[in-house]
Assembly symmetry: C2
Homo-oligomer: 311 residues x 2
Protein backbone atom coordinates (compact mmCIF):
# COMPACT_ATOMS: atom_id res chain seq x y z
CA UNK A 1 0.00 0.00 0.00
CA UNK A 2 2.93 2.32 0.54
CA UNK A 3 3.88 2.20 -3.14
CA UNK A 4 0.31 2.94 -4.22
CA UNK A 5 0.18 5.92 -1.99
CA UNK A 6 3.63 7.07 -3.10
CA UNK A 7 2.67 6.79 -6.78
CA UNK A 8 -0.49 8.79 -6.14
CA UNK A 9 1.45 11.51 -4.44
CA UNK A 10 3.97 11.56 -7.26
CA UNK A 11 1.29 11.98 -9.92
CA UNK A 12 -0.65 14.59 -8.00
CA UNK A 13 2.58 16.50 -7.52
CA UNK A 14 3.28 16.19 -11.26
CA UNK A 15 -0.15 17.60 -12.11
CA UNK A 16 0.19 20.49 -9.68
CA UNK A 17 3.69 21.34 -10.88
CA UNK A 18 2.37 21.09 -14.44
CA UNK A 19 -0.38 23.60 -13.68
CA UNK A 20 2.18 26.04 -12.25
CA UNK A 21 4.57 25.58 -15.17
CA UNK A 22 1.87 26.02 -17.80
CA UNK A 23 0.33 29.06 -16.19
CA UNK A 24 3.76 30.68 -16.03
CA UNK A 25 4.16 30.01 -19.76
CA UNK A 26 0.70 31.31 -20.65
CA UNK A 27 1.11 34.41 -18.47
CA UNK A 28 4.44 35.16 -20.16
CA UNK A 29 2.77 35.21 -23.58
CA UNK A 30 -0.11 37.22 -22.18
CA UNK A 31 2.39 39.76 -20.83
CA UNK A 32 4.01 39.98 -24.27
CA UNK A 33 0.60 40.74 -25.76
CA UNK A 34 -0.04 43.38 -23.12
CA UNK A 35 3.30 44.98 -23.92
CA UNK A 36 2.36 45.12 -27.61
CA UNK A 37 -0.90 46.99 -27.07
CA UNK A 38 -0.12 48.78 -23.84
CA UNK A 39 -3.20 47.60 -21.95
CA UNK A 40 -3.16 46.57 -18.32
CA UNK A 41 -2.22 42.98 -17.59
CA UNK A 42 -4.66 40.25 -16.56
CA UNK A 43 -3.52 37.20 -14.63
CA UNK A 44 -5.03 33.85 -13.70
CA UNK A 45 -7.55 33.87 -10.86
CA UNK A 46 -7.73 30.87 -8.55
CA UNK A 47 -10.85 28.97 -7.55
CA UNK A 48 -10.64 25.83 -5.46
CA UNK A 49 -13.45 23.35 -5.06
CA UNK A 50 -14.15 20.23 -3.04
CA UNK A 51 -16.00 17.18 -4.22
CA UNK A 52 -18.66 15.97 -1.78
CA UNK A 53 -17.69 12.34 -2.47
CA UNK A 54 -13.97 12.94 -1.82
CA UNK A 55 -11.17 15.09 -3.16
CA UNK A 56 -11.32 18.35 -5.06
CA UNK A 57 -9.43 20.61 -7.36
CA UNK A 58 -8.15 24.02 -8.27
CA UNK A 59 -9.34 25.87 -11.34
CA UNK A 60 -7.18 28.72 -12.55
CA UNK A 61 -8.87 30.97 -15.07
CA UNK A 62 -7.73 34.00 -17.03
CA UNK A 63 -10.65 36.10 -18.30
CA UNK A 64 -10.60 38.86 -20.92
CA UNK A 65 -6.87 38.92 -21.46
CA UNK A 66 -5.18 40.56 -24.41
CA UNK A 67 -3.90 37.34 -25.98
CA UNK A 68 -6.34 34.92 -24.35
CA UNK A 69 -10.00 35.83 -24.31
CA UNK A 70 -10.28 33.00 -21.83
CA UNK A 71 -7.80 30.43 -20.60
CA UNK A 72 -8.38 27.85 -17.90
CA UNK A 73 -6.06 25.30 -16.34
CA UNK A 74 -7.64 22.83 -13.90
CA UNK A 75 -6.05 20.35 -11.56
CA UNK A 76 -8.12 17.79 -9.70
CA UNK A 77 -7.59 14.75 -7.53
CA UNK A 78 -10.68 12.82 -6.56
CA UNK A 79 -11.43 9.44 -5.03
CA UNK A 80 -14.46 7.35 -4.25
CA UNK A 81 -15.68 4.07 -2.83
CA UNK A 82 -16.85 2.62 -6.14
CA UNK A 83 -15.78 3.37 -9.71
CA UNK A 84 -18.38 5.27 -11.76
CA UNK A 85 -20.26 3.38 -14.53
CA UNK A 86 -18.16 4.98 -17.28
CA UNK A 87 -15.11 3.17 -15.90
CA UNK A 88 -16.53 -0.27 -15.21
CA UNK A 89 -18.31 -0.23 -18.56
CA UNK A 90 -14.90 -0.73 -20.18
CA UNK A 91 -13.50 -2.75 -17.26
CA UNK A 92 -16.25 -4.89 -15.72
CA UNK A 93 -13.88 -6.41 -13.15
CA UNK A 94 -13.62 -2.98 -11.52
CA UNK A 95 -17.28 -2.77 -10.58
CA UNK A 96 -17.51 -1.82 -6.93
CA UNK A 97 -13.76 -1.16 -6.60
CA UNK A 98 -12.56 2.04 -4.91
CA UNK A 99 -10.85 4.44 -7.28
CA UNK A 100 -8.57 7.43 -7.44
CA UNK A 101 -8.22 9.87 -10.33
CA UNK A 102 -6.06 12.91 -10.85
CA UNK A 103 -5.34 15.12 -13.82
CA UNK A 104 -4.53 18.47 -15.29
CA UNK A 105 -6.67 19.85 -18.12
CA UNK A 106 -6.72 23.11 -20.00
CA UNK A 107 -8.56 25.01 -22.72
CA UNK A 108 -7.36 28.28 -24.22
CA UNK A 109 -9.53 30.50 -26.39
CA UNK A 110 -7.35 33.26 -27.87
CA UNK A 111 -8.74 36.62 -28.93
CA UNK A 112 -6.92 37.01 -32.24
CA UNK A 113 -8.74 34.87 -34.88
CA UNK A 114 -5.40 33.81 -36.34
CA UNK A 115 -4.28 32.18 -33.08
CA UNK A 116 -5.69 28.65 -32.73
CA UNK A 117 -7.57 27.49 -29.67
CA UNK A 118 -5.82 24.79 -27.67
CA UNK A 119 -6.87 21.92 -25.46
CA UNK A 120 -4.84 19.38 -23.49
CA UNK A 121 -5.20 17.07 -20.56
CA UNK A 122 -3.14 14.46 -18.73
CA UNK A 123 -4.75 12.12 -16.25
CA UNK A 124 -4.04 9.09 -14.09
CA UNK A 125 -6.37 6.47 -12.62
CA UNK A 126 -6.11 3.81 -9.96
CA UNK A 127 -8.94 1.35 -9.44
CA UNK A 128 -8.68 -2.10 -7.94
CA UNK A 129 -5.25 -3.34 -9.04
CA UNK A 130 -5.34 -1.34 -12.28
CA UNK A 131 -3.37 1.81 -12.95
CA UNK A 132 -3.41 3.71 -16.19
CA UNK A 133 -2.64 7.04 -17.81
CA UNK A 134 -4.58 9.01 -20.39
CA UNK A 135 -4.35 12.33 -22.14
CA UNK A 136 -3.20 14.26 -25.14
CA UNK A 137 -3.50 17.64 -26.79
CA UNK A 138 -5.13 19.11 -29.87
CA UNK A 139 -5.23 22.47 -31.61
CA UNK A 140 -8.21 24.21 -33.26
CA UNK A 141 -7.48 27.01 -35.71
CA UNK A 142 -10.18 29.25 -37.19
CA UNK A 143 -7.79 29.99 -40.07
CA UNK A 144 -5.42 27.34 -41.34
CA UNK A 145 -1.66 27.76 -41.66
CA UNK A 146 0.35 24.83 -42.95
CA UNK A 147 3.46 25.81 -41.01
CA UNK A 148 1.51 25.91 -37.73
CA UNK A 149 0.04 22.47 -38.32
CA UNK A 150 3.46 21.09 -39.27
CA UNK A 151 5.13 22.65 -36.24
CA UNK A 152 2.48 21.30 -33.88
CA UNK A 153 2.50 17.75 -35.20
CA UNK A 154 6.27 17.59 -35.69
CA UNK A 155 6.74 18.61 -32.06
CA UNK A 156 4.29 15.92 -30.94
CA UNK A 157 5.97 13.30 -33.11
CA UNK A 158 9.37 14.11 -31.58
CA UNK A 159 7.83 13.94 -28.10
CA UNK A 160 6.38 10.48 -28.77
CA UNK A 161 9.70 9.32 -30.25
CA UNK A 162 11.35 10.00 -26.88
CA UNK A 163 9.16 7.31 -25.24
CA UNK A 164 9.18 3.62 -26.12
CA UNK A 165 5.61 3.29 -24.83
CA UNK A 166 4.20 5.81 -27.32
CA UNK A 167 3.58 5.54 -31.05
CA UNK A 168 2.86 8.92 -32.64
CA UNK A 169 0.93 7.50 -35.58
CA UNK A 170 -1.42 5.52 -33.33
CA UNK A 171 -1.96 8.40 -30.94
CA UNK A 172 -2.51 10.84 -33.79
CA UNK A 173 -5.10 8.60 -35.42
CA UNK A 174 -6.89 8.14 -32.09
CA UNK A 175 -7.02 11.92 -31.79
CA UNK A 176 -8.31 12.38 -35.35
CA UNK A 177 -11.11 9.92 -34.65
CA UNK A 178 -12.03 11.27 -31.24
CA UNK A 179 -12.17 14.97 -32.16
CA UNK A 180 -14.57 14.48 -35.04
CA UNK A 181 -17.87 16.36 -35.24
CA UNK A 182 -19.82 13.52 -36.82
CA UNK A 183 -22.81 15.59 -37.89
CA UNK A 184 -20.50 18.02 -39.71
CA UNK A 185 -18.20 15.31 -41.05
CA UNK A 186 -15.20 17.34 -40.03
CA UNK A 187 -12.66 17.33 -37.22
CA UNK A 188 -12.86 19.97 -34.49
CA UNK A 189 -9.42 21.18 -35.51
CA UNK A 190 -6.14 19.83 -36.83
CA UNK A 191 -5.98 17.07 -34.20
CA UNK A 192 -2.86 16.22 -32.23
CA UNK A 193 -2.37 13.15 -30.08
CA UNK A 194 -4.70 11.37 -27.72
CA UNK A 195 -4.43 8.20 -25.66
CA UNK A 196 -6.70 6.44 -23.22
CA UNK A 197 -5.92 3.70 -20.72
CA UNK A 198 -2.20 3.54 -21.31
CA UNK A 199 -0.83 0.87 -18.98
CA UNK A 200 2.92 0.46 -19.40
CA UNK A 201 3.91 -3.10 -18.42
CA UNK A 202 6.85 -4.26 -16.31
CA UNK A 203 8.37 -3.25 -12.98
CA UNK A 204 9.06 0.27 -14.21
CA UNK A 205 5.68 0.61 -15.97
CA UNK A 206 4.44 3.31 -13.65
CA UNK A 207 7.67 5.30 -13.95
CA UNK A 208 7.60 5.11 -17.73
CA UNK A 209 3.98 6.26 -17.79
CA UNK A 210 4.80 9.08 -15.42
CA UNK A 211 7.79 10.14 -17.52
CA UNK A 212 5.60 10.20 -20.65
CA UNK A 213 3.01 12.36 -18.87
CA UNK A 214 5.64 14.71 -17.46
CA UNK A 215 7.29 15.19 -20.84
CA UNK A 216 3.85 15.69 -22.41
CA UNK A 217 2.93 18.48 -20.03
CA UNK A 218 6.23 20.20 -20.73
CA UNK A 219 5.77 19.68 -24.47
CA UNK A 220 2.53 21.71 -24.39
CA UNK A 221 4.50 24.94 -24.24
CA UNK A 222 6.86 23.90 -27.06
CA UNK A 223 3.99 22.72 -29.25
CA UNK A 224 1.58 25.61 -28.79
CA UNK A 225 3.33 28.82 -27.73
CA UNK A 226 5.45 29.31 -30.89
CA UNK A 227 2.20 29.27 -32.87
CA UNK A 228 0.62 31.80 -30.50
CA UNK A 229 3.63 34.11 -30.78
CA UNK A 230 3.67 33.84 -34.57
CA UNK A 231 0.01 34.85 -34.94
CA UNK A 232 -0.96 37.00 -31.96
CA UNK A 233 0.03 40.34 -33.48
CA UNK A 234 -1.47 39.70 -36.92
CA UNK A 235 -3.95 42.45 -37.79
CA UNK A 236 -7.56 41.38 -38.23
CA UNK A 237 -10.96 42.94 -38.65
CA UNK A 238 -14.64 42.26 -38.12
CA UNK A 239 -14.74 39.63 -40.87
CA UNK A 240 -12.05 37.54 -39.16
CA UNK A 241 -13.64 38.01 -35.72
CA UNK A 242 -17.05 36.87 -36.97
CA UNK A 243 -15.50 33.83 -38.63
CA UNK A 244 -13.69 32.95 -35.40
CA UNK A 245 -16.97 33.17 -33.47
CA UNK A 246 -18.66 30.99 -36.07
CA UNK A 247 -15.92 28.36 -35.81
CA UNK A 248 -16.26 28.49 -32.04
CA UNK A 249 -19.87 27.43 -32.53
CA UNK A 250 -18.49 24.16 -33.93
CA UNK A 251 -16.26 23.88 -30.88
CA UNK A 252 -19.33 24.24 -28.65
CA UNK A 253 -21.17 21.64 -30.71
CA UNK A 254 -18.35 19.14 -30.29
CA UNK A 255 -18.05 19.69 -26.55
CA UNK A 256 -21.76 19.47 -25.75
CA UNK A 257 -22.64 16.66 -28.15
CA UNK A 258 -19.57 14.40 -28.34
CA UNK A 259 -16.95 15.11 -25.69
CA UNK A 260 -17.10 12.16 -23.31
CA UNK A 261 -15.78 14.09 -20.31
CA UNK A 262 -18.30 16.90 -20.79
CA UNK A 263 -21.32 14.71 -21.44
CA UNK A 264 -20.40 12.37 -18.56
CA UNK A 265 -19.80 15.32 -16.23
CA UNK A 266 -23.15 16.90 -17.07
CA UNK A 267 -24.98 13.62 -16.59
CA UNK A 268 -23.42 12.90 -13.22
CA UNK A 269 -23.68 16.28 -11.53
CA UNK A 270 -20.01 17.06 -11.79
CA UNK A 271 -18.65 20.54 -11.11
CA UNK A 272 -20.59 22.28 -13.91
CA UNK A 273 -18.47 25.42 -13.95
CA UNK A 274 -15.22 23.42 -14.16
CA UNK A 275 -16.67 21.12 -16.85
CA UNK A 276 -18.00 23.95 -18.99
CA UNK A 277 -14.84 26.04 -18.64
CA UNK A 278 -14.03 24.40 -21.99
CA UNK A 279 -16.86 26.29 -23.68
CA UNK A 280 -15.89 29.28 -25.82
CA UNK A 281 -16.40 32.69 -24.18
CA UNK A 282 -18.46 33.78 -27.20
CA UNK A 283 -19.77 31.69 -30.08
CA UNK A 284 -21.92 32.32 -33.11
CA UNK A 285 -24.27 30.25 -35.25
CA UNK A 286 -25.38 31.20 -38.72
CA UNK A 287 -27.93 29.59 -40.98
CA UNK A 288 -26.36 28.23 -44.19
CA UNK A 289 -23.21 30.29 -44.15
CA UNK A 290 -21.94 31.03 -47.66
CA UNK A 291 -18.16 30.93 -48.09
CA UNK A 292 -16.42 32.55 -51.02
CA UNK A 293 -14.55 29.77 -52.90
CA UNK A 294 -10.81 30.18 -52.47
CA UNK A 295 -11.20 32.46 -49.44
CA UNK A 296 -9.16 31.87 -46.26
CA UNK A 297 -12.42 30.87 -44.54
CA UNK A 298 -13.16 28.22 -47.15
CA UNK A 299 -9.56 27.02 -46.99
CA UNK A 300 -9.81 25.90 -43.36
CA UNK A 301 -11.86 22.85 -44.37
CA UNK A 302 -8.76 21.06 -45.66
CA UNK A 303 -7.26 21.37 -42.17
CA UNK A 304 -10.28 19.65 -40.66
CA UNK A 305 -9.71 16.28 -42.29
CA UNK A 306 -7.02 13.81 -41.15
CA UNK A 307 -3.65 14.72 -42.65
CA UNK A 308 -0.08 13.63 -42.20
CA UNK A 309 1.30 16.93 -40.92
CA UNK A 310 4.48 15.44 -39.48
CA UNK A 311 5.62 13.72 -42.69
Amino acid sequence: MTTVSMSREQVVELMRAGQTLLIAGFEEVEAEGVALVGQSAVSFATSSWERPGGGGGTARVLTEGVVFERAGVNVSAVHGDAVPPSLYHDRPHLKGAPYFATGVSMVLHPRNPYVPAFHANYRYFEAGDDRWFGGGMDMTPAYGFDEDARHFHTTLKAYCARHAIANYQTLKETCDRYFTINHRQEMRGIGGIFFDMLEPQGDDGFERGLAFAKDGIETILAAYLPVVRRRMAMPYGERERQWQLYRRGRYAEFNLVYDKGTVFGLQTNGNIEAILMSMPPLARWEFQIALEPGSPEADVSRFLQPQDWAA
Copy 2:
Protein backbone atom coordinates in the same frame (compact mmCIF):
# COMPACT_ATOMS: atom_id res chain seq x y z
CA MET B 1 -56.36 4.86 -48.45
CA THR B 2 -58.19 7.90 -49.83
CA THR B 3 -58.90 9.19 -46.33
CA VAL B 4 -55.26 8.77 -45.30
CA SER B 5 -54.11 10.73 -48.25
CA MET B 6 -56.78 13.40 -47.71
CA SER B 7 -55.81 13.80 -44.05
CA ARG B 8 -52.16 14.10 -45.00
CA GLU B 9 -52.94 16.78 -47.52
CA GLN B 10 -55.06 18.62 -44.98
CA VAL B 11 -52.31 18.66 -42.37
CA VAL B 12 -49.59 19.64 -44.82
CA GLU B 13 -51.81 22.47 -46.00
CA LEU B 14 -52.36 23.51 -42.38
CA MET B 15 -48.62 23.60 -41.73
CA ARG B 16 -47.91 25.59 -44.88
CA ALA B 17 -50.70 28.06 -44.17
CA GLY B 18 -49.39 28.32 -40.60
CA GLN B 19 -45.92 29.19 -41.86
CA THR B 20 -47.37 31.94 -44.06
CA LEU B 21 -49.56 33.32 -41.28
CA LEU B 22 -46.78 33.35 -38.70
CA ILE B 23 -44.24 34.94 -41.00
CA ALA B 24 -46.74 37.68 -41.80
CA GLY B 25 -47.15 38.28 -38.05
CA PHE B 26 -43.41 38.29 -37.36
CA GLU B 27 -42.69 40.55 -40.34
CA GLU B 28 -45.32 42.99 -39.11
CA VAL B 29 -43.60 43.33 -35.74
CA GLU B 30 -40.22 43.54 -37.47
CA ALA B 31 -41.58 46.39 -39.63
CA GLU B 32 -42.77 48.19 -36.48
CA GLY B 33 -39.26 47.88 -35.06
CA VAL B 34 -37.77 49.19 -38.28
CA ALA B 35 -40.13 52.18 -38.16
CA LEU B 36 -39.01 52.94 -34.60
CA VAL B 37 -35.31 53.11 -35.44
CA GLY B 38 -35.51 54.11 -39.09
CA GLN B 39 -33.28 51.33 -40.40
CA SER B 40 -33.92 49.42 -43.59
CA ALA B 41 -36.25 46.45 -43.35
CA VAL B 42 -35.17 42.82 -43.44
CA SER B 43 -37.54 40.07 -44.52
CA PHE B 44 -37.57 36.27 -44.39
CA ALA B 45 -35.41 34.50 -46.96
CA THR B 46 -36.59 31.16 -48.34
CA SER B 47 -34.56 28.00 -48.58
CA SER B 48 -36.12 24.75 -49.74
CA TRP B 49 -34.57 21.36 -49.29
CA GLU B 50 -35.29 17.79 -50.32
CA ARG B 51 -34.76 14.72 -48.24
CA PRO B 52 -32.95 11.92 -50.10
CA GLY B 53 -35.25 9.34 -48.46
CA GLY B 54 -38.45 11.16 -49.48
CA GLY B 55 -40.06 14.54 -48.98
CA GLY B 56 -38.52 17.85 -48.03
CA GLY B 57 -39.21 21.21 -46.56
CA THR B 58 -38.97 24.95 -46.69
CA ALA B 59 -36.94 26.94 -44.18
CA ARG B 60 -37.72 30.63 -43.95
CA VAL B 61 -35.14 32.61 -42.03
CA LEU B 62 -34.85 36.27 -41.07
CA THR B 63 -31.28 37.28 -40.25
CA GLU B 64 -30.07 40.44 -38.51
CA GLY B 65 -33.41 42.13 -38.23
CA VAL B 66 -34.14 45.06 -35.93
CA VAL B 67 -36.51 43.17 -33.62
CA PHE B 68 -35.34 39.65 -34.37
CA GLU B 69 -31.63 38.95 -34.44
CA ARG B 70 -32.63 35.69 -36.01
CA ALA B 71 -36.01 34.10 -36.66
CA GLY B 72 -36.67 30.88 -38.48
CA VAL B 73 -39.90 29.14 -39.42
CA ASN B 74 -39.59 25.69 -41.00
CA VAL B 75 -42.17 23.50 -42.65
CA SER B 76 -41.40 19.92 -43.60
CA ALA B 77 -43.23 16.86 -44.89
CA VAL B 78 -41.23 13.67 -45.10
CA HIS B 79 -41.97 9.99 -45.57
CA GLY B 80 -40.07 6.75 -45.58
CA ASP B 81 -40.35 3.01 -45.96
CA ALA B 82 -39.66 2.19 -42.31
CA VAL B 83 -40.14 4.27 -39.14
CA PRO B 84 -36.88 5.46 -37.56
CA PRO B 85 -35.74 3.84 -34.27
CA SER B 86 -36.87 6.86 -32.20
CA LEU B 87 -40.47 6.08 -33.19
CA TYR B 88 -40.56 2.32 -32.82
CA HIS B 89 -38.73 2.58 -29.52
CA ASP B 90 -41.97 3.95 -28.02
CA ARG B 91 -44.22 1.94 -30.33
CA PRO B 92 -42.62 -1.47 -31.04
CA HIS B 93 -45.55 -2.58 -33.23
CA LEU B 94 -44.52 0.07 -35.77
CA LYS B 95 -41.12 -1.44 -36.50
CA GLY B 96 -40.77 -1.74 -40.27
CA ALA B 97 -43.95 0.25 -40.99
CA PRO B 98 -43.89 3.04 -43.58
CA TYR B 99 -44.37 6.49 -42.10
CA PHE B 100 -45.26 10.05 -42.88
CA ALA B 101 -44.43 13.13 -40.81
CA THR B 102 -45.15 16.80 -41.28
CA GLY B 103 -44.75 19.83 -39.08
CA VAL B 104 -44.08 23.50 -38.64
CA SER B 105 -41.41 24.63 -36.20
CA MET B 106 -39.96 27.99 -35.28
CA VAL B 107 -37.35 29.65 -33.09
CA LEU B 108 -37.07 33.41 -32.61
CA HIS B 109 -34.07 35.07 -31.01
CA PRO B 110 -34.86 38.77 -30.48
CA ARG B 111 -32.21 41.44 -30.31
CA ASN B 112 -33.52 43.43 -27.33
CA PRO B 113 -32.56 41.55 -24.12
CA TYR B 114 -35.96 42.36 -22.61
CA VAL B 115 -37.80 40.49 -25.36
CA PRO B 116 -37.96 36.75 -24.64
CA ALA B 117 -36.88 34.13 -27.14
CA PHE B 118 -39.67 31.92 -28.43
CA HIS B 119 -39.98 28.38 -29.70
CA ALA B 120 -42.96 26.43 -31.01
CA ASN B 121 -43.73 23.46 -33.16
CA TYR B 122 -46.75 21.51 -34.31
CA ARG B 123 -46.36 18.13 -35.96
CA TYR B 124 -48.35 15.16 -37.25
CA PHE B 125 -47.34 11.53 -37.79
CA GLU B 126 -48.79 8.58 -39.61
CA ALA B 127 -47.21 5.16 -39.25
CA GLY B 128 -48.90 1.81 -39.76
CA ASP B 129 -52.46 2.40 -38.56
CA ASP B 130 -51.40 5.02 -36.00
CA ARG B 131 -51.93 8.75 -36.36
CA TRP B 132 -50.94 11.29 -33.79
CA PHE B 133 -50.22 14.95 -33.18
CA GLY B 134 -47.51 16.62 -31.14
CA GLY B 135 -46.31 20.10 -30.40
CA GLY B 136 -46.41 23.07 -28.11
CA MET B 137 -44.70 26.37 -27.45
CA ASP B 138 -42.44 27.85 -24.80
CA MET B 139 -40.90 31.23 -24.05
CA THR B 140 -37.39 31.99 -22.77
CA PRO B 141 -36.79 35.42 -21.21
CA ALA B 142 -33.36 36.70 -20.26
CA TYR B 143 -35.08 39.09 -17.84
CA GLY B 144 -38.23 38.07 -16.03
CA PHE B 145 -41.49 40.04 -16.07
CA ASP B 146 -44.43 38.64 -14.15
CA GLU B 147 -46.97 40.21 -16.47
CA ASP B 148 -45.35 38.61 -19.53
CA ALA B 149 -45.34 35.18 -17.91
CA ARG B 150 -48.96 35.60 -16.84
CA HIS B 151 -50.05 36.79 -20.28
CA PHE B 152 -48.30 33.90 -22.02
CA HIS B 153 -49.66 31.17 -19.76
CA THR B 154 -53.16 32.67 -19.49
CA THR B 155 -53.36 32.75 -23.28
CA LEU B 156 -52.29 29.11 -23.45
CA LYS B 157 -54.74 28.09 -20.75
CA ALA B 158 -57.61 29.73 -22.66
CA TYR B 159 -56.46 28.00 -25.86
CA CYS B 160 -56.49 24.59 -24.17
CA ALA B 161 -59.89 25.31 -22.64
CA ARG B 162 -61.33 25.63 -26.15
CA HIS B 163 -60.48 21.95 -26.84
CA ALA B 164 -61.93 18.97 -24.99
CA ILE B 165 -58.87 16.90 -25.93
CA ALA B 166 -56.41 19.24 -24.13
CA ASN B 167 -55.75 19.78 -20.45
CA TYR B 168 -53.66 22.89 -19.81
CA GLN B 169 -52.28 21.67 -16.48
CA THR B 170 -51.05 18.39 -17.95
CA LEU B 171 -49.56 20.05 -21.01
CA LYS B 172 -47.92 22.75 -18.90
CA GLU B 173 -46.33 20.18 -16.57
CA THR B 174 -45.08 18.16 -19.52
CA CYS B 175 -43.47 21.33 -20.85
CA ASP B 176 -41.90 22.20 -17.48
CA ARG B 177 -40.34 18.73 -17.30
CA TYR B 178 -39.18 18.60 -20.90
CA PHE B 179 -37.53 22.01 -21.04
CA THR B 180 -35.36 21.43 -18.00
CA ILE B 181 -31.59 21.82 -18.12
CA ASN B 182 -30.85 18.99 -15.71
CA HIS B 183 -27.22 19.89 -15.07
CA ARG B 184 -28.25 23.45 -14.13
CA GLN B 185 -31.36 22.36 -12.24
CA GLU B 186 -33.36 25.06 -13.95
CA MET B 187 -35.83 25.30 -16.81
CA ARG B 188 -34.75 26.76 -20.15
CA GLY B 189 -37.35 29.49 -19.69
CA ILE B 190 -40.84 29.98 -18.26
CA GLY B 191 -42.23 26.91 -20.02
CA GLY B 192 -45.53 26.88 -21.86
CA ILE B 193 -47.35 23.79 -23.12
CA PHE B 194 -46.05 20.66 -24.74
CA PHE B 195 -47.67 17.42 -25.86
CA ASP B 196 -46.43 14.30 -27.58
CA MET B 197 -48.39 11.52 -29.27
CA LEU B 198 -51.83 13.04 -28.88
CA GLU B 199 -54.28 10.59 -30.47
CA PRO B 200 -57.84 11.85 -30.18
CA GLN B 201 -60.21 8.85 -30.21
CA GLY B 202 -63.48 8.43 -32.06
CA ASP B 203 -64.65 8.98 -35.64
CA ASP B 204 -63.84 12.67 -35.48
CA GLY B 205 -60.52 12.14 -33.68
CA PHE B 206 -58.43 13.36 -36.58
CA GLU B 207 -60.58 16.48 -37.04
CA ARG B 208 -60.37 17.33 -33.35
CA GLY B 209 -56.60 16.92 -33.38
CA LEU B 210 -56.36 19.05 -36.50
CA ALA B 211 -58.53 21.75 -34.94
CA PHE B 212 -56.33 21.79 -31.83
CA ALA B 213 -53.20 22.16 -33.97
CA LYS B 214 -54.77 24.88 -36.14
CA ASP B 215 -55.89 26.89 -33.13
CA GLY B 216 -52.45 26.39 -31.55
CA ILE B 217 -50.62 27.79 -34.55
CA GLU B 218 -52.93 30.82 -34.56
CA THR B 219 -52.49 31.21 -30.79
CA ILE B 220 -48.73 31.67 -31.22
CA LEU B 221 -49.25 35.23 -32.39
CA ALA B 222 -51.65 36.04 -29.54
CA ALA B 223 -49.37 34.47 -26.93
CA TYR B 224 -46.05 35.92 -28.04
CA LEU B 225 -46.43 39.11 -30.04
CA PRO B 226 -47.98 41.26 -27.27
CA VAL B 227 -44.90 40.48 -25.16
CA VAL B 228 -42.60 41.41 -28.03
CA ARG B 229 -44.42 44.70 -28.59
CA ARG B 230 -44.34 45.54 -24.87
CA ARG B 231 -40.55 45.05 -24.60
CA MET B 232 -38.99 45.72 -27.98
CA ALA B 233 -38.45 49.45 -27.49
CA MET B 234 -37.14 49.23 -23.93
CA PRO B 235 -33.72 50.89 -23.70
CA TYR B 236 -30.83 48.64 -22.76
CA GLY B 237 -27.07 48.75 -22.58
CA GLU B 238 -24.02 46.55 -22.68
CA ARG B 239 -24.82 44.96 -19.31
CA GLU B 240 -28.21 43.74 -20.54
CA ARG B 241 -26.78 42.58 -23.87
CA GLN B 242 -24.04 40.56 -22.15
CA TRP B 243 -26.58 38.96 -19.83
CA GLN B 244 -28.77 38.04 -22.78
CA LEU B 245 -25.80 36.38 -24.51
CA TYR B 246 -24.96 34.52 -21.31
CA ARG B 247 -28.54 33.24 -20.99
CA ARG B 248 -28.39 32.18 -24.63
CA GLY B 249 -25.48 29.94 -23.65
CA ARG B 250 -27.97 28.02 -21.49
CA TYR B 251 -30.30 27.83 -24.48
CA ALA B 252 -27.48 26.31 -26.53
CA GLU B 253 -26.72 23.86 -23.71
CA PHE B 254 -30.32 22.68 -23.61
CA ASN B 255 -30.61 22.26 -27.36
CA LEU B 256 -27.35 20.36 -27.85
CA VAL B 257 -27.52 18.22 -24.70
CA TYR B 258 -31.22 17.52 -24.10
CA ASP B 259 -33.48 18.46 -26.98
CA LYS B 260 -34.66 15.16 -28.47
CA GLY B 261 -35.27 16.55 -31.93
CA THR B 262 -31.83 18.13 -32.10
CA VAL B 263 -29.91 15.18 -30.69
CA PHE B 264 -31.84 12.71 -32.86
CA GLY B 265 -31.36 14.88 -35.94
CA LEU B 266 -27.61 15.15 -35.38
CA GLN B 267 -27.28 11.42 -34.81
CA THR B 268 -29.19 10.49 -37.96
CA ASN B 269 -27.68 12.88 -40.50
CA GLY B 270 -30.72 15.11 -40.67
CA ASN B 271 -30.61 18.51 -42.38
CA ILE B 272 -27.98 20.03 -40.06
CA GLU B 273 -28.67 23.62 -41.00
CA ALA B 274 -32.41 23.24 -40.44
CA ILE B 275 -31.86 21.40 -37.14
CA LEU B 276 -29.39 23.93 -35.78
CA MET B 277 -31.46 26.91 -36.87
CA SER B 278 -32.66 26.74 -33.26
CA MET B 279 -29.21 27.71 -32.00
CA PRO B 280 -28.78 31.30 -30.84
CA PRO B 281 -27.05 33.62 -33.32
CA LEU B 282 -24.55 34.59 -30.60
CA ALA B 283 -24.01 33.03 -27.17
CA ARG B 284 -21.63 33.56 -24.32
CA TRP B 285 -20.17 31.40 -21.56
CA GLU B 286 -18.59 32.75 -18.43
CA PHE B 287 -16.75 30.92 -15.66
CA GLN B 288 -18.55 31.26 -12.32
CA ILE B 289 -20.61 34.31 -13.09
CA ALA B 290 -21.27 36.43 -10.01
CA LEU B 291 -24.74 37.97 -9.78
CA GLU B 292 -25.52 40.89 -7.52
CA PRO B 293 -28.23 39.73 -5.07
CA GLY B 294 -31.51 41.48 -5.81
CA SER B 295 -30.41 42.48 -9.33
CA PRO B 296 -32.70 41.91 -12.34
CA GLU B 297 -30.22 39.25 -13.51
CA ALA B 298 -30.46 37.35 -10.21
CA ASP B 299 -34.24 37.69 -10.26
CA VAL B 300 -34.66 35.63 -13.42
CA SER B 301 -33.96 32.41 -11.51
CA ARG B 302 -37.42 32.45 -9.95
CA PHE B 303 -38.89 32.36 -13.48
CA LEU B 304 -36.90 29.23 -14.27
CA GLN B 305 -38.66 26.96 -11.81
CA PRO B 306 -42.17 25.56 -12.38
CA GLN B 307 -44.83 28.12 -11.38
CA ASP B 308 -48.55 28.48 -11.76
CA TRP B 309 -48.56 31.57 -13.99
CA ALA B 310 -52.16 31.13 -15.14
CA ALA B 311 -53.71 30.97 -11.67
